[in-house]
């Protein structure tokens, strides 16, 4: 009988020992993960709470705007996967040529989740259009941040969010401050301007298609001291108009976007438009920057579009020289690159 008791006690002690060792190991492991590494929680632009653990070393950016911003935030070396058609981006070629060799994982249409997983990312940035693929990433335990930088306010939030996500908060704050500073300055400059030139901005696909009051382009023209001829168009985004509507508006200045599928020359030679003031005076220009990135909608350096447009519409308030100085400075500071006047749209 005593032998049995002994045996039972020994067995139980052995069991307790084994359990302790096991839990001890487990605990040790946990504490190993916890020590020295932080996790952050951010709210992305569709309202999701995203937890990102540890340092963000590998970033997959499936949208042009975030990829470009990552350059400005100084994190271009952490990018392991990029959006498709990267070779069409002038700014990559200039300051981040390594982007062109990265695997292309997404476009406006869809993202290849498996391909992304192979790259072992610490975070994946996707645009709102692709939010349906969020679940797949979550199942693979890959943190995914959804962005929606389409309007001006959203863009600023986007910059702030990205700063948090990739651990470049200082830079993102500085960038935002720069945007806000420039906006304020330009607003001050133009707020009392009496003579606002009438402006027509045409879309990429068709010259007879323009922006509506909802869009960033409308605000852009307003801040820069111009009057958008299509500002009373309220519905939708890019809208088509008839040739005679344009003649009726008779804008003093015409700007075509840098990614237009038609040539300014064809517009100048089109007999229907010859009486429009802007055409008569040769005031049809391409909105920059064709060689870097478009500035007519929110992109990381599109703030320069505001400056450029102001110098175009009101050279008496803001000269071309001042513009060039400020623009070159911006690119040097945030993108660490030197730019030519041509690249600045002149």
């Amino acid at each position: 009988m005593i032998h049995l008791r002994k045996r039972v006690i020994s067995a139980m002690m052995a069991l307790v020992m084994v359990l302790t060792i096991l839990t001890g190991c487990a605990n040790n492991q946990k504490s190993e993960t916890n020590s020295g590494e932080e996790s952050i929680v951010v709210t992305d632009q569709i309202g999701r709470e995203v937890k990102i653990e540890g340092e963000v070393k590998n970033i997959v950016s499936s949208y042009y705007l975030s990829s470009s911003l990552l350059i400005a935030l100084g994190k271009k070396d952490n990018v392991v996967g990029i959006e498709l058609k990267a070779d069409t981006r002038g700014i990559y070629k200039k300051v981040a040529p390594e982007f062109l060799d990265l695997p292309g994982v997404g476009s406006g249409k869809g993202i290849n989740v498996e391909q992304v997983a192979k790259l072992d990312p610490d975070v994946v940035i996707i645009p709102k259009k692709l939010k349906d693929s969020v679940e797949q990433f979550e199942q693979l335990n890959i943190p995914v941040v959804v962005i929606d930088p389409e309007t001006l306010d959203n863009f600023i939030d986007f910059v702030e969010l990205m700063g948090k996500v990739v651990g470049a908060e200082e830079r993102s704050k500085a960038l935002i401050e720069e945007y806000e500073r420039i906006f304020e300055e330009v607003r001050e400059l133009t707020k009392d301007v009496k003579d606002r030139p009438t402006v027509y901005l045409s879309s990429g696909s068709d010259f007879l298609r323009t922006c509506t009051s909802k869009m960033y382009q409308n605000e852009l023209i307003d801040i820069a001291g111009g009057k958008n001829v299509s500002s009373d168009l309220q519905d939708g985004y890019w809208q088509a108009i008839s040739a005679e509507q344009l003649v009726s508006w008779n804008p003093e200045k015409i700007f075509t976007v840098s990614y237009a599928e038609y040539a300014n020359e064809d517009i100048v030679n089109d007999v229907r438009f010859k009486d429009i003031e802007a055409i008569k005076n040769g005031e049809i220009k391409t909105f920059p920057s064709k060689l870097l990135e478009p500035w007519d909608y929110p992109t990381p350096s599109s703030i320069l579009g505001v400056l450029w447009l102001t110098s175009q519409l009101h050279p008496e308030l803001y000269s071309e020289e001042d513009y060039v100085k400020e623009a070159k400075n911006f690119y040097k500071t945030y993108f660490n690159m030197d730019v030519t006047e041509e690249e600045l749209g002149l």
Partner: protein, 328 residues
């Protein structure tokens, strides 16, 4: 042919043309138009607007509407079915494939798009005709089935191309093209399609008696000595060309081909021999009214198919009510 009806319809068309010349986002009064035509108008802008924008667009619309309507009448006669539209063999679908291909893969330049549109429209119809040969006994049925098949294939291709399209620029252009519009009308466009459309119209006019006989059905037509196979192919191809020409410039304009013959029937019971010019003119009127609405209702330019579809629906309801009354 009822001469009186012809003159009345022509008169209505002329009134519509005048309205089209006056109305627009830039209003010109009758007095303005008169002085422009006479040559002593002061505002050069208005002269230019009238000639180069308004008038070119009006003329283009008149000839397009007529071509589409005539094509519709002919298709309905040949297929002996009042519900048939020129797209029964897939011409509009084919044109769409050409246009979308051009926009997405070839840069979407104007000339390329127009050529591709025209080419693919004709190609699809030729394919439909070829496919129809597999149905031995009933040629008409064969054509309709082939048209359905080609139409489906075209739709799939367009859907695939839309997948590849750049949502920021291409998709918009595609959607707008698929809904049609005359806002890019110029004299050079009119000059290009005027002659071919007039030529084809004349040939079809000369063939009108044969077309009439075809509507009796293959066997009766053969018994009257008509080489049905040959005439049918020629007529179908010509009617298809009419549509392809219009669509290559204006995008898909829906309903005119289907609806116009019915409107003609509402005021003239005759066959296509007697209604030939009325068919053409009615289409012109229908499209001019639609175009004026499309460009004046709002500041933005409405795609024309939206207007024609709306008008089409209204007319259908009228027709249904009318038929119900007659049946009772």
């Amino acid at each position: 042919m009822n001469k009186k009806k012809f003159w009345i319809v022509l008169f209505i068309l002329i009134i519509c043309v005048i309205f089209s010349a006056c109305l627009g986002r830039y209003t010109l009064s009758l007095k303005d138009i008169f002085s422009i035509l006479v040559g002593n108008h002061t505002s050069e802008v208005e002269v230019n607007l009238f000639y180069n924008i308004r008038l070119s667009r009006t003329f283009l619309v008149v000839i397009s509407g007529g071509a589409l309507a005539l094509s519709g009448s002919i298709f309905q006669t040949i297929f002996r079915n009042p519900l048939v539209s020129p797209d029964v063999l897939g011409v509009s679908s084919g044109c769409s494939v050409g246009a979308v291909l051009s926009i997405v893969l070839l840069g979407g330049g104007v000339i390329i798009t127009q050529s591709m549109t025209f080419l693919f429209g004709v190609m699809v119809v030729l394919f439909s005709i070829f496919l129809s040969r597999f149905v031995k006994n009933d040629r008409i049925l064969g054509l309709v089935l082939a048209g359905i098949v080609m139409g489906s294939i075209a739709s799939s291709i367009i859907m695939m191309l839309k997948l590849v399209a750049d949502p920021n620029s291409h998709l918009q252009a595609i959607e707008f093209w698929l809904m049609g519009g005359f806002n890019n009308a110029t004299w050079s466009q009119f000059n290009i399609i005027f002659l071919p459309i007039m030529l084809i119209t004349v040939i079809l006019y000369l063939l009108r008696y044969k077309i009439n006989i075809m509507s009796l059905g293959d066997e009766e037509a053969k018994s009257l000595g008509l080489n049905v196979k040959v005439v049918r192919i020629i007529v179908i191809l010509l009617a298809t060309l009419l549509v392809a020409l219009v669509v290559s410039f204006a995008g898909v304009v829906s309903w005119v081909g289907l609806l116009s013959p019915h409107i003609v029937k509402m005021y003239s019971k005759d066959d296509i021999v007697n209604n030939f010019s009325l068919s053409f003119l009615t289409g012109s009127i229908l499209l001019i009214v639609s175009d004026v609405l499309a460009r004046t209702l709002f500041t933005i330019e409405l795609p024309i198919s939206i207007v024609t579809s709306f008008i089409g629906a209204i007319f259908l309801i009228i027709l249904l009510i009318k038929n119900k009354r007659e049946a009772l």
